[in-house]
Symmetry: C2
Subunit: 204 residues, 2 copies
Amino acid sequence: MPPELSSRGAFFCPMNKPEPKPSRWDKLGESILTRTRIFDLRTAHYRHPVRNAERDFYVVHSPDWVNVIALTPDHQLVLVRQFRFGVDDFSIEIPGGVMDLGEEPVAAGLRELREETGYAGQNARIIGRVHSNPAILSNACHFVFVELAVRSEALQWDTDEEIEVVTAPVDEVFAMAHSRQITHSLVLDALFYFWPYWLEIKKG
Amino acid sequence: MPPELSSRGAFFCPMNKPEPKPSRWDKLGESILTRTRIFDLRTAHYRHPVRNAERDFYVVHSPDWVNVIALTPDHQLVLVRQFRFGVDDFSIEIPGGVMDLGEEPVAAGLRELREETGYAGQNARIIGRVHSNPAILSNACHFVFVELAVRSEALQWDTDEEIEVVTAPVDEVFAMAHSRQITHSLVLDALFYFWPYWLEIKKG
């Protein structure tokens, strides 16, 4: 289990010459510039509360995403290898995808795991959550950990999905991340959150 | 230093019922839908080599980014707190930004560190690199590690930048990430890559 972490807020060490605190900009409105199948590009109109400057900023809006750490009974992780259009190349990742409207992250994670890989498991729970990119993306990515994952279901790929389902021992997956065979930022985040769980599991 | 990692390719455990391998789609062309100050939204036109289907996919193009792990002589990390328009809220991050055209990642990291925080350091080197999001973003984010970072330079914020510069002990920063006070996906990636270096540094 992850270490007990203090939530005390007094972690900041004041600098010798403190700058003024950053202001919270006021969002006055936003409009959709372009809609695509998987995200909207919007302009958000903001006013700075002190300087009174008004500016437009660009934001990519998408539903939240979910990524799944699925651990098999023999301590391998379920991986997927796909062609990815963003990088025009193949990418080795963990199962995941876009959450449906109103869907809870754990349910979405189990659904994506089942549809993409045919695996189902037990004791599914959230182990982390990030903002995909606070500067330009509005959404979050949730990380679900599933144990005792076994292949038991039929695949249900989306249109244009072609997925190679593979497994690898957990320590090998961490090595793949450190050696840059795995390069997806969100997969490394999942491994970051999974690390303390894995240390406990290895201890037995 | 990070563990010696094998680069053997035979990590895949074949499944009982292997699916056909995913195909590499052929990119036939792309066009810019929308240009913003920080990225372009493009449509890329692809053909599947086997099914002969043609489809448009949306890709956000941006220059590469760089993020910096700056370690002070007393083993604190330099952090920045900013208002972020993507999430319409404040975010605690490490220094970083967009690389200039033709700029090398280490130079870009040192420049962003200096401009955003006034810190300069020594022994700067790359410790990792991710794809920001292989599905929809074309770019990479490079991670630079700088040691003996001290505040010695004047700040040079971009227009609309207001940055609170803070430091915190390294283990506290890891705890902030696990307790979700730090939520930026790329900052967690930086900490993922930094972990084996930190273990060595702590050993002395």
